[in-house]
Amino acid sequence: MNILIIEDESLIAKSLKKLLERRGVHVDWCNSGNTAIDAIKSGSYDRIICDLMLQDISGFDVIEDSKSIFNIGEIGKKFIIITAYSSPQVLEKAEQYGCLVLSKPFEDLNEAIDTFIKGKSSD
């Protein structure tokens, strides 16, 4: 299983990477939106964990851009949004893409890791 983490806070990214690797997943990490767009186009990821507040562009820009290679159903399954700003507007927008949203800090770390691996439980 291949997972891409898009997160500019290195402590979070590295920790998540480590925790996911312990569960036998291959993890790549991008710390900016633009490098992530390149990575998504060149690699094949089962899951993309995407922060919204990145240094260059927003996480939603990354998702919007990947519409060129994924259909809307794939976007909903592949992308999981992690954010510290879980405002109603953010939740509404995520809903439009059909993406899961996890608020930082995670309430239960293990549950969050499970979600990253399993994706949307309803599917």
Partner: protein, 578 residues
Amino acid sequence: MENQSRPSIKGSKKAPGNLERRLTLLQNEIQNIKGESNLPIEISSEIKSDHKFTLKCGTNTQDFFRSSGSSPISWLECVKNNYVEFSNRNIARLESSRKNYSSFRKKLSSHLKSPLKNQDSSLKPLLAEHFKDHQYRELYNIIHNIQSLPTFLLSLEAIKGYTICQLVSHEKGQAYAMSNLATLGGKSTNKRISIAHFNKSFQTIKKSKSKVFQSQNFPTEIIEVIGTFQSKTFVGSKYNLILILGRNDFLPPDTKEKDIFEQVTEQLDPVLNAILFRSSHDDKILNIIDSLEQAPVPVSISDRSDKFLFKNESFEKMKEQDFRDYRKVEKELTGKNLLRTYYPQSNLEGTDLYHFYRVSLLGELLNTLRHELSNPLFGLSLASDILDTDNKDEDIIETVFDIKTNSKRCQTIIKNFSDLYQGEENFKEFNLVELLRETVILTKSETKGIQKKILSEGQEIFIFSNPTWLSQIVFNLIINSGQAILENSQSSTRNSFINIQIKPLKDKVFIEISDNGPGVPKGNEEKLFKSFFTTKDSGTGLGLSICKNLIRKLDGDIMHGHRDGGGALFTIILPHES
């Protein structure tokens, strides 16, 4: 004899009846004035003989002879003399009894560039020219409004025998005309009349040479007399008038009656417009007075000796203590009169605005801070979680644990603070003790080294209020205490303290914030909650005034006292359902 020359009046014994009626009218007039003025006057009348009667106004007794001459205006003179005598003596009291309005009007109008002023000066030559006899100038002084003119005319000996008098006036530019009607019975009514009806009738009457008309030729809306009537139009600079005199019968007036009508109306001509002008001007002045009267802020006008000429409703309602709370703005009027307007001070809109601006700014700032900090803090706790499980070294495990707990604490603190400043209008149920504890933490840097205690620690008191505002108030009071203590103690704050005690009592909860600082200096207690009052060099003087405003919004109160053993004591009282 005049009576005999009037065949239209039923019977020759009409004369004493007429006299009595006129007397009644006159008495009614005087009674009205008496009622208005509340003057201690006696009015009595007595018909002494066939030729004489007595009218008494106060101490002034005057005998009138019914047939005192051949002049058709003799009765006018009689009435006038009495009125003038009466009004000359009592005008001052009349005016003062009308809440000083008359004298105030004059003063006010001299300040406002009023038409009255212009009118008065232009009227003087006019009056002098037409009223060579002083009596007409006085007539102008007697008839104060147009409504009473028809009644007055009916009471004139010269035109006795008429039972109905109507005066229709149209002020140029107005969309309607006004009709004032009086009957000999003393009834007086007024109504509005459409301009179309007025103009049509006006033209008809104006063109006629005989000045005698039949009512069926006019619309009933305007002419209220039945049968034959005499009428004349007056053209003034501001008004057009129709004067109508009738008897409600169909007999035409004889030559003498026509002459008398002509004579009276001719003499009335110059004074009518002047009276109308004044009465409309009085209306305008009254409008100004009414506006002042109903102004939402207290307004007063006083003369040079500081005697009140005018107080409006808000002013009358003001209590003694309110005067200190109000900002007084004075403006000198013409004649050295002083116009004073009072503005409430303690509720300065600006203060509130400043406060809300500050709080919302603080709220935004805290929110940004919360989000900016929570991400790296989350990183810290995530990383320390991993390090925690990876390591075997006790020292490292302990250190990592400290990092973890500290970052969690940081997250909690920042979350609580931003929660505290979230909703401005947010009333909810919350734990009072917890809120106080969080607020005390917030004051840490301003109260360094001072011991702070919440004396009701452990107690759980839930109240329904606005936590943001309450925290603001408590925060302000603690900061004030802290600053006072730190300013006062040169060396050490070792023994200084700020105590917060919660005392629930029936349907209220008391929060006492006391310190052992210098306390509020004597003489400043009253000014304490006023805006812009401060004893600090860098103070804005808004803190406590904002507290007072906020506590009012919480339906509570805040009081200041002295702590036993020295220091300040502030008590917040909040509603509390136990």
